[in-house]
Assembly symmetry: C2
Homo-oligomer: 224 residues x 2
């Protein structure tokens, strides 16, 4: 069993990498797509190294996806006081077709590396502002990849139906005594602040997840 | 009606652009993916200009897709004496997930440009060596895009069930007195030879199509 994980540098994909490793050789790719939070790419490099993954490629795809999302433009990232304030509907940070782009390139690399399974840290619980984080999207992607490749690529999304707090508890389980070490390397913040800004949607959801799990988030030690 | 056409610089996508123009404002994108036949990109620029398209963007995505295809590597393009010699099965020039990659980025641009229809010159007749040229693949792509975007993007493939000779006759019909002018700007050759090498699979299929249609191919005038 050979796996490919899409490693963003965030917590969810780091958990997926740890899960993938339990079933065999695991390779990783990271997309540098001109995101504002470039610190994520550095986090991904550190996580791949800490987990001793079989290979890790950072794929430069800047300028290929366009959007008005503050993640890829100069529009401002919205600030909130708590996760309860987050709006419903399509998130302002949505980059159209981003996850399909990631999975398509991942499938291309999976073929090159001989991997039959892609792990992706997408999750439809907690935050439904991204249509391309739902399992129905993943199912449709598996089908279109089979049509495109005449070869079955499975897309594992172990966090799909977990809350953030359940993901934290799962991370503790699969990472064991590496939990603090690995999770401390992850970056979630939309503003790219090491240790987190704790005012953007991504930070607030992470904070709530750790709080509800009753677990200390090791990134706080990096807070300036 | 606003359309986006994926313009490769080849004959098929030029015909699609001419068809798209009949239904409204038409924008174009061209992928520079490190293909050996870079002359295609120059052809695309010339075609977009000659057709006076609303906009045309060349998207640099070199290094993003990997394959052993001679189109993106140093492996040699196979030579044949006639189209009858071409092998069955997946073509050696297949770049895994290439068309899904193109359509995904096209969907991203369609959203940015306000286009609801993408035109693609894929064709399952004549040459079935690419699984991602079939309509079943296109149907699966429409579904996955709807899942990803919560917005319907139609993918028009007017050449899907036409033979190459039928495409030539269709081109004459939609291009009218611009036929020689526009088709003369297209490049099909896998070896990137202006006017065609007439020994690669792409040239031989084009030649056979024009021959069967009883139409002179205007690119022959460029032959050195």
């Amino acid at each position: 069993m050979r796996n490919l994980v899409i490693l963003s540098g965030g917590a969810d994909s780091a958990i997926c990498a740890a899960i993938a490793l339990q079933s065999g050789e695991t390779h990783a790719i990271t997309f540098d797509y001109g995101q504002r939070h470039r610190i994520e790419v550095e986090s991904a490099l550190a996580i791949a190294k800490a987990l001793n993954l079989a290979s890790h490629e950072v794929i430069d795809c800047q300028g290929i996806l366009k959007s008005v999302s503050p993640l890829t433009s100069n529009n401002e990232v919205k600030q909130y006081q708590s996760a309860d304030e987050l709006p419903d509907g399509i998130a302002s940070t949505f980059v159209p077709a981003r996850n399909l782009f990631f999975l398509t390139v991942a499938a291309n690399r999976a073929i090159a590396l001989g991997c039959h399974t892609i792990y992706a840290g997408v999750c439809q619980t907690d935050f439904s502002g991204y249509p391309d984080c739902r399992r129905s999207f993943i199912d449709a992607t598996e089908i279109v990849l089979f049509e495109a490749l005449e070869q079955r690529i499975r897309i594992e999304t172990p966090l799909m139906h977990l809350t953030k707090s359940e993901s934290v508890l799962l991370a503790k389980k699969v990472m064991g005594d590496r939990f603090e070490d690995i999770m401390g390397l992850t970056t979630t913040c939309y503003n790219g602040v090491k240790g987190g800004c704790h005012r953007c949607a991504a930070c607030l959801l992470r904070d709530r997840g750790f709080h509800e799990a009753g677990v200390d988030d090791p990134i706080w030690k990096y807070r300036s």
